[in-house]
Amino acid sequence: MFEIRWHGRGGMGAVTAADITASAAIKAGFYALAFPEFGAERRGAPVTAYTRIDKEIIYDRTPITNPDVVVVLDPFMVSSPRVLAGLKEGGYLIANTTKEPSEILDQIADLRRLRITVATVDATSIAMSVFKLPIVNTAMIGALVAATNIIPLSNVVEVVRERFPERLAEANIHLINESYKLLKVMRP
């Protein structure tokens, strides 16, 4: 089982990111679940969402406490203990930030000890250039796929095309590809 935990704020699209990733995994032939940490939806409030991917049926619907991957949509949340809580040894931290992976590794001591792969991309700038809004969710899916290879990018693109009207879909696919290309990865 591969478990992804998404952290963002209301309006950044963390819930949709979890959903699109699970949907792409299902299209790729996996079993997958995606669900948000359910709260009253407010723009700007912290949002957590989950994606579980496996080859077999998944029974577990408890919140993910030991993720393989943490994806951080809000640059100000990267070093928050709540965000990094329970990240598995050998796992991934994928962050929307202007910082280099090495800076994040220097900033958070545990990451080296836990042999975490750190990947960073300035998704906010990419999203602003297209939407004039910091809707970074699809860019971060591109980053997730680039860092982990857990699902084929083509399945993500397929889901985005089904989910959004044509112009919006193409804009999002552009974001995914940009982020996929620009992601900086530092493996332990």
């Binding site: 979890a18 959903d19 699970a22 949907s23 299902i26 299209k27 079993y31 997958a32 679940l33 995606a34 669900f35 948000p36 359910f38 009253a40 998944i58 029974y59 577990d60 619907r61 408890t62 919140p63 406490t65 889901v159």
Partner: protein
């Protein structure tokens, strides 16, 4: 066979309702409504479903309109949740007593106060004495399939009762998962539309909802009791046939775990999955343990419960609703105790109340329940706690 698509629980249910080719949907469109009827409105708007959507001013009216449409011979659907379900309470008795095969989905959620939109079984349990056949799904494939099963059972001429299919709010309604869609043709061949009940027809006038004075009322109730009993057999036949046609087998109860268990947790809804995941993780360590899922709640499948719990040392019942002041404040626990006692099964029972108002029932909580059961399994019944154990609450 259908194709496998990623859908939320709400959408999975809506697709099944579409495949059942319903004629009338009546619903209150505002909170606490689910997106099930929103999706159905979309299907009607873009021509995928030829049905009448009646938007009403309350859930009381939603079910009243459903009663009227069903009495007129339509295949009828409605859905609601939480306060909406309990606002239907009065009409739920009327639907079942008039023997109208309405199908309704309950997105199971907590009841106010305090205001809480999250999942537990308060609404489901609150309406469990209204004479409806009631079932609850563990995952969204099952929630999808249950709608098709529900029409087949409801409209069976030997049953003619309304059926409620439930799925857990949020933990299922808002979770995306793979769904093997049942297409309309297959749904209608499994649950064909045929008017098996008396309907309002100007050419053949009948009275529906007449006065049942003391000369007659009791006999109506006696017949209603028989119909509910009959639905148990029809359920079994229907799930057998469903397994043949669609390849997915459901049981009124389903057991998962050790073949010869000493301790068993009884649960409903998505928490069954959490317990399965827990047992799979710890298997080998705490081996003689299992989980019994109750899918069919009304009629309560006593025979199968006896079959699975006979010989078990201690049974823990996980309730996600609370009835303060009851001899057993956990309603599911109450049913299990009554069943075991009635059939002379001497398994001890323990009542757990957990996960109220959307609090997740985690592996840690499940671990606490199994350790409690192991600790008490060899004690005499007289030494067991007489009150429910509240798991995961701050005292």
């Amino acid at each position: 066979m259908g194709k496998i698509v990623p859908l939320s629980g709400n959408s999975a249910v809506a697709y099944a309702v579409k495949s059942a080719d319903v004629d009338v949907i009546s619903a209150y469109p505002i909170t606490p409504q689910t997106t099930i009827v929103e999706k159905l409105a979309e299907f009607i708007a873009n021509g995928e479903l030829d049905a009448e959507m009646i938007h009403v001013e309350s859930e009381h009216s939603a079910l009243s309109a459903a009663v009227g449409a069903s009495a007129a011979g339509a295949r009828v659907y409605t859905a609601s949740s939480s306060q909406g379900i309990v606002l239907m309470y009065e009409i739920m008795f009327i639907a079942s007593s008039l023997r109208l095969p309405i199908v309704m989905t309950i997105a199971a959620r907590a009841l106010s106060a305090p205001i809480n939109i999250w999942n537990d079984h308060s609404d489901f349990m609150a309406v469990s004495d209204t004479g409806w056949v009631m079932m609850m799904a563990e995952n969204n494939q099952e929630a999808h399939d249950d709608v098709i099963l529900a029409y087949r059972i409801a409209e069976d001429p030997e049953v003619l009762l309304p059926v409620a299919t439930a799925l857990d709010g949020y933990f299922m309604t808002h979770t995306i998962e793979p769904i093997d869609l049942i297409e309309r043709e297959d749904a209608l061949s499994f649950a064909p539309k045929r008017k098996t009940w008396f309907t309002l027809d100007p050419d053949k006038p009948v009275t529906i909802g007449a006065l049942g004075d003391p000369q007659w009322y009791f006999e109506f109730k006696r017949q209603q009791y028989e119909a509910m009993k009959k639905s148990r057999e029809v359920f079994e036949k229907s799930v057998d046939e469903f397994a043949k046609v669609f390849g997915r087998r459901y049981g009124a109860v389903e057991y998962f775990g050790d073949e010869n268990p000493e301790v068993v947790l009884v649960a409903m809804g998505h928490v069954v999955g959490n317990i399965k995941a827990y047992l799979s993780r710890v298997r080998g360590k705490d081996s003689r343990a299992g989980v019994l899922k109750i899918k069919l709640y009304r009629p309560f499948p006593e025979d199968l419960i006896v079959k699975y719990l006979e010989g078990v040392k201690i049974v823990g019942v996980v309730d996600r609703a609370l009835v303060p002041g009851s001899a057993s404040p956990g309603p599911l626990h109450s049913e299990i105790v009554a069943t075991l006692r009635k059939h002379g099964v001497d398994a001890k029972t323990l009542s757990f109340v957990s996960g109220l108002g959307g609090r997740p029932v985690t592996h840690e909580h499940i671990g606490v329940m199994f350790s409690k059961l192991s600790e008490l399994k060899d004690k005499p019944a007289s030494e067991l706690p007489k009150e429910p154990l509240f798991i995961g609450v701050r005292e």
